[in-house]
């Protein structure tokens, strides 16, 4: 039973990691990275390493993607970089 769970978790990790590499948009990459963190946390839990799973869950699927998203927002706000405007403050283009 545990072996089945471990194999499923391993496949999920491999899939999520490949998706993170294949995605070219940093915002999507951050979201996929968050999902990858979740699958890794699952894998570590099945491998009976709850300490590592907790670290992975907190850092890998919350803090790191958050930092990437904030960085993307900062970079896209820069004038003249052709940002898409989705995250610009309201009223900027009057």
């Amino acid at each position: 039973m545990t072996d089945v769970l471990i194999v499923v978790a391993l496949l999920l990790v491999a899939g999520a990691a490949t998706a993170a590499v294949l995605n070219r948009d940093p915002v999507r990459q951050a979201l996929v990275l968050s999902f990858l963190g979740l699958t890794l946390a699952l894998l570590f839990t099945f491998l009976q390493a709850p300490d590592v799973a907790l670290s992975q869950l907190a850092v890998g699927s919350a803090v790191t993607p958050l930092m990437i998203l904030l960085t993307v927002r900062k970079v896209r706000r820069r004038p003249g970089s052709g940002g898409d405007g989705a995250d610009k403050p309201a009223g900027r283009e009057r």
Binding site: D51, L54, V59, L66, K74, P79, G91
Partner: protein, 266 residues
């Protein structure tokens, strides 16, 4: 070096690595079966020091010096971020605008916030008893605070987050770890030796110095992550590059504002 030579160097290296790696893998003990000698000894050492969570015992007792190094890595990384992401002289600070939040999002975040905070503090406090500890709980606590940014807006977060206090907390956590280590020296043992009474197994006050060091790391990580995210949030929300302007009220940083008040519409 031509690309052909480079390719050959790579292939030789890769082949060597593959051979050694495969050989090493065949000598590994079977997956999840044989008790590892280090594991057996670590469990024994943890129980003799009345620490129920063996991982905490390894981190804060057996290899407390390693953990001091790891704590210092985070400490210096946060300091580096603070220095790197500070407000430059030609950047100006703009008051964040009040944001509208969808009611379901607001409800969800406000509902999750106290639970997440409690879970984080619980994980820190029970580091020597159950899985988790200062690092994991610290990250959860720090992240939980930022649910307020999702529930309301950046101004609400800034109001309940006195950053100076967290900067002091980060330094205090790091200092407490070193001081606990030197306290053992004063007590006549080596640096970071577990000299405190071990207490009763599986209670909050068990583990001797492991408990103290765990709390110190909890304080350091919570404060460190809050300071770290605050710098990123400042850059993403408040600090604007020179020439970037939307005409809203702002503070000029460092007296270097160039005063271009209205940008021509494109």
């Amino acid at each position: 070096m031509s690309s052909r030579v480079r390719l050959w160097v790579f292939l030789v290296g890769a082949a060597g690595f593959a051979a050694l790696f495969a050989a090493a893998c065949f000598d590994l003990p079977a997956f999840g079966t044989v008790p590892h000698p280090y594991g057996v000894r670590a469990v024994h050492a943890a129980l003799s020091h009345h620490t129920a969570n063996v991982i905490a015992s390894v981190n804060f007792d057996l290899r407390a010096f390693d953990t001091l190094g790891e704590e210092s890595i985070l400490f210096s990384a946060v300091i580096g971020t603070v220095v790197l992401l500070r407000q430059a002289r030609d950047e100006h600070r703009k008051d964040p605008e009040p944001a509208t939040v969808h009611p379901p999002v607001r409800r969800f975040a406000l509902l999750t916030l106290p639970f997440a905070l409690l879970v984080g503090l619980y994980v820190i406090a029970h580091g020597q008893v159950s899985p988790g500890g200062g690092f994991q709980g610290g990250v959860v606590t720090a992240t939980a605070l930022h649910l307020l940014y999702i529930a309301a807006d950046y101004r609400a977060l800034e109001r309940v987050r006195p950053l100076t206090l967290y900067e002091i907390g980060e330094a205090a956590g790091e200092a407490a770890y070193v001081i606990t280590g030197f306290a053992a020296v004063l007590a006549g043992s080596a640096f970071l030796t577990n000299v405190l009474p071990f207490g009763t197994l599986a209670t909050l006050s068990s583990g001797g110095t492991a408990m103290v060091l765990n709390a110190a790391v909890g304080l350091e990580v919570t404060s460190g992550i809050v300071v770290l995210l605050a710098r990123f949030l400042d850059q993403a929300v408040e600090i604007e590059d020179p020439g970037e302007d939307d005409g809203s009220p702002r503070h000029t940083g460092g007296g270097g504002g160039n005063g271009d008040d209205e940008r021509e519409p494109a």
